[in-house]
């Protein structure tokens, strides 16, 4: 079976009107056995930049620690916050370093740049960036997420509308995937604040 589907995970990010959303499921399993339902897959870089990692659990944890190191060093050296695009390129080069022995993750980046413009992108496991105009998906339910996002996403959704859209997209996508689910976490990033909500979906 595919190593990317060993632990199971799903992550999605969407652009809204002066806001972005990023959401993930909470399941951590070992093939069919569910081991935990509060596994963190989305991480904060700064108040305007989040990223999520879908894929092999150990690589999710190791990479999140590596990115924390790199972004802290950046902040100290450059005396400024990381921009989403810059972070995306940092993720890309970090993954490509391991081109012939890769990290088994599919990252999703979501944030607002310094002008307040929404930004989302995803990369493959070796760092090819997909800059999207609308939404990005990753994980074992990615095919389902593509279908759901295509259906519910519209341009210029306000923060609360965006929350509904991304939540429905994620919840219904993971319901058709045995390896994703067991709860969800949604972050909405606006220029003023971050709204974080934990969803209880079908716990199976």
């Amino acid at each position: 079976m595919s190593i990317m589907a060993y632990n199971g995970a799903s992550v999605v990010a969407m652009k809204g009107k002066n806001c972005v959303a990023i959401a993930s499921d909470r399941r951590f399993g070992v093939q069919a056995l569910t081991v935990s339902c509060d596994f963190q897959k989305i991480f904060k870089v700064n108040d305007r930049l989040f990223y999520g990692l879908a894929g092999l659990g150990t690589d999710v944890q190791t990479l999140s620690e590596r990115f924390r190191f790199k972004s802290n060093m950046y902040k100290l050296r450059e005396e400024r916050d990381l921009e989403p695009k810059t972070f995306a390129h940092m993720v890309s080069s970090t993954l490509y370093e391991k081109r012939f022995g890769p990290y088994f993750v599919e990252p999703v980046v979501a944030g607002l740049d310094k002008k307040g413009e929404p930004f989302v992108c995803s990369t493959d496991l070796i760092g090819c960036i997909n800059f999207a105009k609308d939404f990005v998906v990753a994980g074992t339910a990615s095919q389902n997420l593509y279908g759901m996002c295509e259906t519910v996403w519209r341009e210029d959704l306000e923060p609360e509308e965006l929350f509904e859209a991304v939540s429905q997209a994620l919840l219904n996508a993971v319901d058709r995937d045995c390896l994703s689910g067991w709860g969800a976490v949604v972050h909405i990033i606006t220029p003023e604040k971050i709204i974080t909500r934990t969803l209880k979906g079908r716990m199976d």
Binding site: R77, E78, T86, H89, M90, S93
Partner: protein, 252 residues
């Protein structure tokens, strides 16, 4: 070199000075004067290309050099030492771009160059660099900035400065003529005037090298940056000979 000389040649004197660095600064003071002036809408760095004989083909000598699309340097002191630092700086800029897909901010570039220069004051078997550099650049975070880097690895931000042979007189001259409201064209004129003050005889357009940080991305010659770069940012450009001649004619 390092295996036989594991000890540094730059050692403290009883008074607490690193004499090798003092001597390196002397080497810089023997070098041709270089000027840097910050204006409201750009920076100018300039120097005179002085060759030992009229037979020298001075088109092969480059003292004002681009590091990347948004940063350029000029040096005073030993040419070969400067060339090595410029090569390292260019490589460092590309290494930064490999990770972040952006040109490095000026402050970061300056820190990297300064770190190299400091390394050579504390490593085995090497001597300090016999150059001071004026680094002019632009980044989206801090705008345009002008820095001086010395053989010790110390760096300073400047509004206007001079390094090399005539630096004391030149800085006095600049103190009188510098104003916060100076625009790039005025700054270029002032830089040429300052250089003129230091030399006996005529200043030849072909002997002048001028580099500018400007919003005009097409003036003179420069390094291309990647397609995603800030299209409304400033770039480092070297003035072409006929452009230098125009400025020189206006000064005279």
């Amino acid at each position: 070199m390092g295996d036989r000389y594991s000890f540094s040649l730059t050692t403290f004197s009883p008074s607490g000075k690193l004499v090798q660095i003092e001597y390196a600064l002397n080497a810089v003071s023997q070098g041709i004067t270089s000027i840097g002036i910050k204006s409201t809408n750009g920076i100018v760095i300039a120097t005179e290309k002085k060759t030992p004989s009229v037979l020298v083909d001075d088109s092969t000598l480059e003292k004002v050099a681009p590091i990347c699309a948004t940063i350029g340097v000029v040096y005073s002191g030993m040419g070969p030492d400067a060339r090595l630092l410029i090569a390292k700086a260019r490589k460092a800029a590309q290494a930064y771009k490999r990770v972040y897909m952006e040109d490095p901010p000026v402050a970061i570039m300056v820190q990297e160059i300064a770190a190299v220069m400091q390394e050579y004051t504390q490593s085995g078997g090497v001597r300090p660099f016999g150059v001071s550099l004026l680094v002019a650049g632009w980044d989206a975070h801090r705008g345009h900035s002008l820095y001086q880097v010395d053989p010790s690895g110390t760096y300073f931000g400047w509004k206007a400065t001079a390094i090399g042979k005539n630096m004391l007189n030149a800085k006095t001259f600049l103190e009188k003529r510098y104003a916060e409201s100076l625009e790039l064209d005025d700054a270029i004129h002032t830089a040429i005037q300052t250089l003129k003050e230091g030399i006996e005889g005529q200043l030849d357009a072909s002997a002048l090298e001028i580099g500018i940080i400007t919003t005009d991305h097409a003036v003179g010659a420069g390094v291309e940056t990647h397609p995603h770069a800030d299209s409304d940012g400033m770039r480092f450009r070297k003035l072409l000979p006929h452009q230098i001649k125009d400025y020189l004619d206006n000064v005279a």
